[in-house]
């Protein structure tokens, strides 16, 4: 993607579905959907991203978070990758 220039966040209170579109991230070259890892209600979004979208590049796993979801179904967590598996996934793509 390269340098992120804009992040479109869901509105608080919106219900998202696991694997469904929840946000959009834009760079100069591409616009991609961000999929919700779990289903539930959006309870908070990272307002910092509006003014400083580069946070996604600098700290994708920290300050560059997108939104917080109140879990609807804990069992959905079971299907997700852990950090080691995800790092491997990123490397192989």
């Amino acid at each position: 993607m390269g340098d992120v220039v804009f992040v479109e966040l869901p509105s608080v209170g919106k219900t998202v579905k696991q694997g469904g579109e929840a946000a959009v991230v834009e760079s100069v070259k591409a616009a991609s959907d961000v999929f919700a890892p779990v289903s539930g209600e959006v309870v908070e979004v990272n307002k910092e991203l509006e003014g400083d979208p580069a946070l996604v590049n600098r700290g994708a796993e920290g300050d560059g978070w997108f939104f917080k979801v109140r879990l609807q179904d804990k069992s959905e967590l079971e299907g997700l990758m852990d950090k080691a598996a995800y790092d491997k996934f990123v490397e192989s793509n």
Partner: protein, 967 residues
């Protein structure tokens, strides 16, 4: 003694073919020799599989000499009659300042440029477009404006689609003020139907239920001329989470409170009356403005301010990821171009006249309308419009036709609303004598003659104080600096010099067909009898245009093999949309409205899926094989799988990879077998004319980009034209029109198919360009041009082949009319990118080829037939030299970060400070030995795209920034 040549030998004959085609006979022989072919015929037989070649030569008239073509057209033009136009309805008389007419509209430095994707070589028109955006922002009172859309009606339809996206309301109904131009209502209804929105047309004060709509469109002023205050309705829409859209008029906004101050969310309209001739419907630039909070949802292109690599101000197109190229089937708009040339004219009109000049012409226009209304009231007529700017509607029970006819006898066109109503519009070009002539239409002998000056003294303002504009506009210094012709002339020249256009060098953009736009082809465009016609003028006054349409439609039908042609679509993307709607119409007429699946190969141009979605279809992607060809097995499987619902296949030919696919006929047959129709994207028609006919390949409908294959200039990013050809069974479903009936003769009496453009025949005034090209080339010339375009492309592939991998070739190892060179290896081996190569070409004086389409990290090169071997060799020499520069990085003799490619383009500013780079100035600025004379100096260094998209500024920066830029 040598034989004396006969007079016949000395006579010039029709020699335009030699002017249009670049390579001379000697150069052609050389290139054929290089490619190992004995003749053009042998060459082309090896490139295009015989199974797809047409057996029927083009049946067109013999080529005309340039003088003959112009005489023929002159006679045609004389069959048009230019009356004083008081029809209104969004098209008005205007006076194009001659300095702008000659130095922009008639100037190849402006009209032959391409869309400003390569910002470094486009700063001139980017500045003009930024002025356009500033002008629209000022006039509408909204925060942000785009760099123009195709026409007012499609802008209104885009506003509807955008409103649906951003409105909080979840309603599915769009409300349209019934006092809206009928052609706008027509296009909105066409679009809404395909999107599945409900449209209610009514009286806002009575019929608008804010809770039941996602947006409402108000016309301000209304089509009837009436100016109404919509503040309270707008507030109620906002309470309901719906948007307020205003279709408005730039000149009226010099007098009226702007939409932004009334609370509107979107304002749109046409900028035609700012110096752009009516041209029997176009081309004109529509404007579109919105609030800051919706900036990421605005349709079309938008120019933004950024900085270059050294921190200097530089302009660029912003937020390009919003384009359908990237959004594809997620796109909600297929708008892919703008009307740059016309937007430049409108912006220069504002720059040249300034706020005082604009105010004066607006007040004058308004005063003419007021005097007329007062005078006819005095005659005993009922004036229906109470508050108005430039248009009044008269209530004349049972007499409208007689008065309309009486005006026509005096060579004045009025708007015949219905048998009881007439509309009369005034404009910047209205003169006192014309008002006097008009008054004689309404004054019987029994009524005493009136003095215009006497009435003028008695008038009171008809616009309520709450709608009288009090805020200032056009306050940026650029609108004060260039009011003398000397200053304007130099400003235009100053901007033009910053840009690379075809008058500077070859523009080898793949898929864009940047061929010659010959002067003879351009001359008729600004003839009065083509330029000054209102699109809704009575047909008997437009007989020359009707003849032009008939002849051009016949030419295009012969070239493509289709039975009927619609000239209405204003761009290739609009042609796709119109073609898919025709396919939908066909299925519906057969009781198969459930057919909604559109197959599209993965290699397709992004507008294809975007158009399919807009036409209410579901996109199913078809795979391509390693050679870039459609994977026929996958296609067959998908066609089978979706047979019950298959609507269409969209396929580009020759493929977007520039290859003549051998199995195209099989592909079409498979789709037909499963009940679908074939839409052929004609973007690459330049490789087919005279050799292959889309209809014979099996296509049912195809668009033709007249701005590619048929010589309409690209205008720096518009105008374009995308007529479609169809087989007879689709002809009844070609676009119709709300105002002008009989636009599609095959439609029968109900004219059920809606319009896709505001004007019945699209951008009519640029159609003489394509007619002239075809007439001067004739069948043989067109065929030769196609072969030469293919020869040039293969020559380039051959010369660059040893230096860069050439992707995708057809049987026999040949490409079609363009070739793709592969740079995907670049990044890993050198840290360089395809962009570095593109920008380095600027130092060599070239516009880059198409970048990363259809394959990421490649360059697609299309030379067209108009480039001679010398220019092609210069380009190849530049590419080969760049390959050496890449090798230096690869081998380590040049650094990975501080090298000629990474630092390109090099500007004159670098000459001022100390030279700190490890390579020489000569290498930076004059890299190609033997071509020192025509150095192009880019005005800015590499433009910082990230900075621009993170810090969006889309209006003119304060003057201090310009000063800084000049230092």
């Amino acid at each position: 003694m040598p034989t004396r040549p006969s007079l016949a030998d000395l006579e010039p004959g029709a020699n335009f073919i030699r002017r249009h085609i670049g390579p001379s006979a000697v150069e052609t022989r050389d290139m054929l020799h290089t490619l190992g072919a004995a003749s053009l015929e042998e060459f082309i037989a090896r490139v295009i599989p015989s199974a797809i070649r047409s057996s029927k030569p083009l049946d067109l008239r013999k080529p005309m000499a340039e003088r003959t073509a112009l005489s023929y057209l002159r006679k045609m033009a004389e069959r048009n009659e230019v009356f004083v136009s008081m029809l209104g309805m969004g098209y008005y008389g205007t006076v194009t300042p001659k300095v702008i007419l000659r130095n922009v509209l008639e100037n190849p430095g402006w009209y032959t440029a391409y869309t400003p994707y390569q910002a470094e070589v486009s700063q001139g028109r980017l500045e003009a477009l930024l002025n356009f955006q500033q002008m629209v922002v000022d006039m509408t009172g909204l925060a942000l404006a785009s760099a123009s859309l195709l026409d007012e009606a499609t802008a209104a339809a885009e506003a509807m689609a955008m409103a649906k996206r951003v409105a909080k309301s979840s309603a599915n109904t769009f409300f349209v003020d019934r006092d809206t131009h009928p052609q706008t209502v027509g296009v909105i209804e066409t679009r809404a139907r395909a999107f599945g929105f409900d449209v209610v047309v009514g009286d806002p004060s009575r019929d608008l239920k804010p809770n039941g709509v996602f947006a409402a469109l108000f016309s301000y002023p209304g089509s009837s001329g009436e100016v109404r205050d919509y503040r309270s309705l707008i507030a109620r829409l906002h309470e309901a989470g719906a948007l307020a859209i205003m279709a408005t008029d730039l000149l009226a906004l010099a007098v009226l409170t702007p939409p932004g101050e009334l609370g509107a969310d979107i304002a749109l309209g046409s900028s035609q009356r700012f110096g752009v001739p009516m041209g029997y419907g176009g081309p004109h630039a529509a404007f579109f403005a919105t609030r800051d909070e919706f900036k990421r949802s605005i349709p079309g292109r938008i120019i933004g301010v950024s900085i270059d690599a050294y921190g200097h101000r530089a302009l660029r197109m912003a937020m390009q990821t919003r384009e359908q190229h990237i959004r594809r089937e997620k796109a909600t708009s297929n708008i892919c171009t703008a009307q740059v040339l016309l937007a430049v004219i409108a912006s220069m009109f504002a720059v040249y006249n300034g706020p005082k000049g604009i105010a004066k012409m607006a007040e004058r226009t308004h005063r003419f309308a007021e005097i007329f209304a007062a005078a006819v009231k005095g005659f005993g007529y009922e004036v229906k419009t109470k508050a108005f700017f430039d248009t009044v509607t008269l209530h004349v029970p049972g007499r409208a036709h007689a008065l309309w006819a009486r005006a026509k006898e005096k060579r004045i066109n009025l708007r015949f609303v219905d048998s009881d109503h007439l509309g009369i519009s005034f404009d910047q070009s209205t003169r006192r004598a014309e008002l006097e002539r008009l008054l004689t239409v309404f004054r019987t002998d029994a009524i005493e003659r009136v003095s215009i000056d006497a009435i003028d003294k008695t008038l009171g303002e008809v616009i309520p104080a709450a709608l009288r504009r009090t805020s200032s506009y056009l306050t940026h210094p650029v609108f004060e600096m260039y009011h003398s012709e000397t200053e304007m002339l130099r400003y235009l020249r100053h901007l033009q010099m910053k840009d690379v256009a075809l008058d500077q060098s070859m523009i080898p953009l793949g898929s864009c067909t940047m061929k010659l736009n010959a002067t003879t082809e351009m001359i008729p465009v600004t003839w009065r009898s083509f330029a000054m016609l209102h699109p809704f003028a009575p047909l008997e006054q437009a007989q020359g245009y009707q003849q032009l349409f008939e002849e051009l439609e016949a030419m295009l039908a012969e070239i493509t093999g289709f039975d009927a042609v619609s000239l209405q679509p204003n761009a290739g993307s609009q042609g796709e949309y119109a073609g898919l709607l025709a396919i939908r119409g066909l299925h519906e007429s057969r009781g198969q409205s459930h057919r909604n699946v559109c197959l599209i190969p993965i290699s397709a141009h992004g507008t294809n899926p975007a158009s399919a979605v807009m036409a209410g279809m579901k996109v199913v992607v078809v795979a391509c094989d390693e050679d870039g060809n459609v994977d026929v097995d996958d296609l067959a499987a998908k066609a089978r799988e979706h047979a019950a619902n298959l609507a269409a296949l969209m396929v580009t030919y020759p493929s977007t990879h520039g290859v003549f696919e051998e199995r195209i006929k099989d592909i079409c047959a498979i789709v037909h077998e499963h009940g679908g129709q074939v839409y052929l994207d004609g973007a690459n028609l330049n490789a087919q004319v005279g050799l292959v006919r889309p209809a014979e390949l099996g296509a049912d409908v195809c668009h033709m980009n007249l701005h590619k294959t048929f010589c309409i200039p690209h205008g720096g990013g518009g105008p374009g034209m995308g007529p479609i050809g169809v087989k007879a069974h689709l002809a009844p479903f070609l676009p119709g029109h709300r105002v002008v009936h009989g636009v599609n003769p095959a439609a029968g009496r109900d004219q059920s198919q809606g319009a896709v453009s505001a004007a019945p025949w699209g951008s009519a005034s640029i159609l003489p360009i394509s007619w002239t090209f075809i007439a001067m080339m004739g069948g043989e010339g067109l065929r030769e041009a196609t072969i030469m375009a293919i020869l040039n492309a293969n020559y380039i592939a051959h010369r660059l082949g040893p230096h860069f991998p050439v992707l995708y070739t057809g049987p026999g190892g040949f490409v079609a009319h363009e070739c793709i060179i592969d740079l995907r290896w670049l990044k890993d081996r050198t840290g360089l990118t395809v962009e570095d190569v593109a920008k380095r070409l600027v130092d060599y004086g070239f516009h880059a080829p198409t970048m990363s389409f259809p394959v990421p990290d490649t360059l697609m090169i299309e030379p067209t037939e108009s480039e001679g071997k010398r220019e092609i060799d210069r380009f190849c020499d530049a590419m080969i030299e760049i390959r050496k520069e890449i090798a230096e990085v690869e081998e380590g003799s040049a650094g990975r970060t501080d090298n000629v490619l990474k630092n390109s383009p090099h500007t004159h500013r670098l000459l001022l400070g100390d030279w700190t780079h490890p390579y020489s100035k000569e290498k930076a600025f004059f890299p190609l030995k033997g071509y020192p004379n025509d150095k192009y100096w880019p005005p800015v260094a590499r433009v910082d795209n990230v900075h621009g998209d993170r810090n969006l500024v889309c209006t003119c920066p304060p003057m201090a920034n310009y000063m800084e830029a000049a230092e």
